[in-house]
């Protein structure tokens, strides 16, 4: 379904084989853990066995004497970092807190918090030495639940933390509530009072992890001239450079970061954990040092997304959403910075809501500091509001999709932050869902049910740079600084091929290191195909202009008389004068040298993405197991550049959503020990747990991009949690307001087990 007549694209909308495909399929592609320079030492990190404790003493003397050990490091090897906030794409970090997270200072704040590190000749020697480090702790009571942490008498993670409120004020008393923000419009009390029906309910989600397959790994070489090279797995090499330089207090330009292939990130590889530690150990030993996490490290000590508590009062009047009053509290983990603000700002975006009041609390708890995870903050918010809407529709006997259609947001409707939507595809996705084969097919049989939910994600723009150099054979090297996490080598090369009207295979995309290309912001916020795509388009247009100038010189005509049509230069005044792209490329040496197009920009006008999902489930009442029978995801993608990858992004988001809805959770015991830090007990779906995910690609072009691109990667994880909960309610008559809706929870509820 498209809303405007689609331009006659040659490349855009096809699904060519990715440029990096063969290397990845054959195993030749090099990931961070594969990188082995000569003289490499192996690092290991000692982690806290406690959730909350004061570090009294760290004794590394025994460890330093162990066989093969070359160096030991603790927080005293990191310079005192400034207490200031640094933006990293969609989120921001406080440098002092970042440093304390990398190696604990006076306190450990979660099970798995890094305390000390060792470099040794072998990985096993390093591990053994790390175990030999003696740490004396003074145990403190842990705070694990967001609501417990908010209590006035809760143990404090940081005695000097006060609640920041809008307007720059802070609370008098110290608190685990790091910030409290409010979004408000209209008269909520009055609107709720005059509503025909009010749903008043509480929802809870647990901390979950992105579950990328590749654990973090970083190799650092601190050279004798004080330059530092880092080879790492990251979504943003420039972010690693900037954060590492600040944590180590060394000049930005002394660090060169080479991003290796990345085996998934989903937002979790936008921050740093290992890079400064490897660098410090390298400085001490004069050798390159590699530190790789194992899966337990990844679960315990990287950045999952928040557990949450959301209380919603939803008022409906005359079939319209009249009022929403919500309290939202998200766990930030050990340091402030949960995505509760994004949760609040996305929650109502699919709808036109005249009266609302959203109170958003960012709360620290004794769990790992959260990082971005695919549409950070939005899925938990959608889990709450989309269930409340479902409940209201059922109470009022309203069709759940028609209700969403008639309440839909559209161009000009303001989001809760006061910003009006530009042209968006909210209604179009709901209407495409209404028209889908899935919606029109009946759901029959005992213990079966159907649910729907919608969702929104902003998408990001930010800074991008590319350099495109024309080779003498007519191919083009596309040098980019956006790490390729979701097929962006292909989606960028396709945009350049479209712009230059040359074959896709003639574009050679390369992801460069931080010394080889100007700044690029992180690969995140579904921004690369949009923003780096915009830079790629501009670089391509720049090449076209240079070629036209050279053709004009060759033909002794004005540049205005040169047309660029289907990858060929034509002289308007003399139809015998033409040059193909390849012919012009071959003439570079004698027409002024190599032709290079480049562009650097801050991309504005990222188009928001909307999605509506339909899911059918069957519940086994004896075991509580939920089977996903059928799943259809409808999404406005702007313009699908690489169609198969767009569908793949949608399917991937849905699968992560299914896991989050049904089984995934950080399971802590009362002392704050993470008990399920393996893929065995942290249950992500396997291929046998999900059906084929049907996709319906809606194309409402983004006016902010020459090809109409909207980010597609994040919004597909927003609706599944609620859609599945709504389907389970439809199947069983029981509404599950707490995630995960695991077999345990379902079987206990359906059989009234204590």
């Amino acid at each position: 379904m498209t809303t405007v007549e689609r331009p006659d694209y040659k490349i855009i909308g096809t699904s060519p084989i990715r440029p990096d495909g063969a290397e990845k399929v054959t195993g030749a592609a090099r990931y961070a853990a594969d990188f082995k320079p000569a003289g490499l030492l192996y690092g290991a990190i000692l982690r806290s066995p406690h959730a909350h404790a004061r570090v009294i003493k760290i004794d590394t003397s025994e460890a330093a004497k162990m066989p093969g050990v070359m160096a030991v490091a603790t927080h005293t090897d990191l310079p005192a970092a400034a207490d200031k906030v640094e933006a990293i794409g969609e989120s921001a970090v406080n440098l002092k807190e970042l440093s304390s997270n990398i190696l604990a200072h006076d306190k450990v704040l979660y099970h798995g918090h890094a305390v000390a590190a060792v470099a040794a000749r072998s990985h096993f020697e390093a591990e053994a030495a790390a175990r030999a480090i003696k740490v004396e702790y003074e145990l403190l009571p842990p705070v694990l639940d967001v609501r417990d942490a908010m209590r006035e008498d809760a143990p404090l993670l940081d005695e000097n933390r006060h609640t920041k409120v809008m307007g720059g004020q802070t609370s008098d008393k110290p608190s685990n509530i790091a910030s409290h923000n409010r979004f408000e419009d209209g008269d909520v009390e009055k609107a709720l009072a005059e509503s025909d029906h009010v749903v008043d309910r509480e929802y809870r989600t647990r901390m979950v992890h992105q579950g990328y397959i590749e654990p973090h790994s970083s190799t650092a070489m601190w050279n004798s001239d004080d330059t530092i090279q880092i080879y790492t797995s990251t979504q943003g090499a420039f972010g690693v450079r900037s954060l590492t330089s600040q944590v180590l207090a060394v000049p930005l330009s002394s660090i060169r970061v080479t991003p290796l292939e990345i085996g998934g990130g989903f937002g979790g590889k936008t921050v740093i954990y290992l890079d400064p530690v490897a660098a410090v150990l390298s400085r001490k030993t004069g050798k390159p040092v590699k530190i790789s996490m194992n899966r337990t490290d990844v679960f315990e000590a990287t950045g999952p997304t928040s557990g949450s508590y959301i209380h919603i009062k939803l008022g409906i009047k005359d079939g319209k959403i009249h009022a929403v009053d919500a309290t939202m509290a998200y766990e930030a983990g050990a340091f402030p910075g949960s995505p509760v603000g994004a949760g609040a700002m996305t929650m109502l975006s699919p709808y036109d809501v005249p009266n609302f009041r959203l109170n958003a609390y960012d709360v620290v708890v004794n769990k790992p500091k959260v990082a971005a995870y695919r549409a950070p903050g939005a899925p938990a918010a959608a889990f709450a509001i989309e269930q409340a809407i479902d409940e209201a529709c059922k109470a009022l006997k309203l069709d759940v999709l028609n209700f969403r259609d008639s309440n839909s947001s559209r161009e000009g409707v303001k989001m809760v932050n006061g910003v009006a939507h530009p042209r968006i595809g909210a209604e179009e996705t709901v209407q495409a869902a209404l028209a889908s084969d899935h919606w029109k097919s009946p759901i029959e049989g005992p213990n079966r049910g159907r649910g729907v939910a919608s969702g929104f994600w902003f998408n990001a723009g930010m800074q991008s740079s590319v350099i495109a150099g024309v080779n003498p054979d007519g191919t083009v090297n596309l040098i980019e600084g956006s790490t390729d996490i979701g097929g962006t080598r292909a989606s960028l090369a396709m945009q350049l091929a479209e712009t230059l009207q040359i074959p896709f295979e003639d574009v050679r995309p390369v992801v460069a290191d931080t010394d080889s290309i100007p700044h690029n912001d992180v690969t995140g916020g579904s921004r690369v195909t949009f923003a780096t795509g915009l830079a790629t388009y501009e670089a391509g247009m720049n090449i076209r202009k240079q070629m036209a100038e050279r053709a004009a010189k060759l033909w002794n005509c004005s540049e205005d008389d040169v047309d660029y049509i289907d990858g060929e230069l034509h002289c308007k005044k003399d139809s015998t004068k033409t040059l193909t792209f390849k012919e012009m490329a071959a003439q570079q040496a004698r027409t002024g040298g190599p032709i290079t197009g480049s562009a650097s920009l801050v991309a504005r006008g990222a188009g928001g993405a909307f999605a509506t999902h339909i899911v059918d489930v069957e519940v086994d009442p004896e075991t509580g197991k939920v089977e996903i029978l059928r799943y259809t995801a409808v999404q406005d993608v702007g313009t699908a550049i690489h169609r198969a990858y767009v569908e793949g992004q949608i399917q991937g988001g849905v699968v992560q959503g299914i896991g989050w809805a049904l089984n995934e959770e950080y399971f802590y015991d009362e002392e704050g020990h993470l008990r399920n830090s393996s893929f065995l007990d942290y249950r992500m779906p396997t291929t046998l747990d999900v059906p084929y995910i049907e996709t319906i690609v809606v194309e409402v072009p983004n006016p902010g991009h020459p090809y109409g691109v909207r980010g597609v990667g994040e919004v597909p994880i927003v609706p599944p949690l609620a859609a599945i909960a709504n389907a389970i309610e439809d199947a069983t008559g029981h509404r599950f307001t707490e995630l995960p809706i695991s077999p345990r929870r379902v079987v206990e509820e359906l059989n009234q087990l204590s």
């Binding site: 591990e127 175990r131 075991t623 509580g624 197991k625 893929f679 007990d681 396997t686 345990r744 206990e748």
Partner: protein, 291 residues
């Protein structure tokens, strides 16, 4: 992981000799448990003794009396790909075909699964229900014991120092008998049983009354459990849903599970009942086919 020596004896005598050289020994069959335990420092060994080169431990055959003899190191895949065994001992296949994923099944053995002594092991309730006997060897000879007497606690078995599990012996199925094993896992693959259950029943000549029965459940106690009360609820009764429900209640009553990240107490007791009933239904179907 600390450094260790690797030894691969070719005979039982070589194995016994290596096991009495004073070193801490870890036995390696498929290695799917022990390698992980060593790598994650959950276990330490001076030497790892690979038993896959000892013929007795790799032998798999249906014996003259119709019983099944399984060498302790025979991989699960070799067992379930044997058509004759699959036809005559389907409950063995129930277990062998769902321990781990396909790659794991190419290495993992039933003997290893038994020796690892996990309360949630997927082979054990099935083997108990089928009256499996274990053949254990040492320098001083061999001994046999019923499998249910082999377990001492989570991860602990009753092998004495110098002893080695050689073989699992399952008696020939009696006429009108059938056995079945099932488990509950939250996912459809790659998971550990929240609860599992194995059952065997033998029908009387009338084809309706239960003449003999045995039920075993797992992941509900420190060791896999035989449930004599379930057998009592079955023997002499008609093979129907009412009888099975009574046996299920007996399993739930016998279960003394813990609550952990894999399940709650109430959930496990409930599943002990559900899975016992489902195992009995499967066993009944097979008993009827075997009439």
């Amino acid at each position: 992981m600390d450094a260790f020596e690797y030894v691969a004896p070719r005979t039982l005598d070589e194995a016994y000799a290596a096991m009495s050289n004073g070193k801490t020994t870890a036995l390696l069959a498929g290695g799917t448990d022990v390698i992980v335990q060593l790598r994650e420092n959950r276990r330490h060994a001076d030497q790892v003794l690979d038993v896959k080169h000892i013929p007795e431990l790799m032998a798999l055959k249906i014996t003259a009396d119709g019983g099944l003899s399984i060498g302790a190191a025979v991989p699960c895949a070799v067992i379930y790909e044997n058509a004759e065994i699959a036809a005559k001992f389907p409950a063995v296949i129930d277990s062998a075909s769902l321990i781990g994923g396909i790659q794991i099944q190419g290495r993992a053995s039933l003997g290893g699964n038994v020796c690892n002594a996990s309360p949630a092991a997927d082979s054990i309730p099935s083997l108990i229900a089928q009256d499996t006997r274990l053949v254990i060897g040492s320098k001083s000879g061999t001994r046999e014991l019923p499998i249910e007497e082999f377990f001492a606690g989570p991860g602990k078995n009753n092998l004495q120092p110098g002893e080695l599990l050689i073989q699992l012996k399952i008696p020939a199925p009696k006429p009108r008998s059938g056995a079945f094993f099932n488990r509950f896992i939250p996912r459809n693959e790659m998971d550990i049983a929240v609860v599992n259950a194995g059952a065997r029943i033998q029908l009387a000549d009338d084809g309706e009354t239960i003449a003999d029965a045995k039920v075993a459940i797992g992941a509900v106690a420190p060791t896999p459990l035989v449930v004599p009360a379930a057998a009592q609820a079955l023997i002499g009764k008609p093979a129907n849903e009412e009888t099975f429900a009574a046996a299920g209640e007996a399993s739930a009553a016998a279960a003394t599970p813990i609550a952990d990240m894999r399940g709650s107490v109430a959930q496990r007791k409930h599943l002990a009942k559900v899975l016992t009933v489902r195992a009995l239904r499967g066993a009944l179907e097979r008993a009827k086919e075997n009439s």
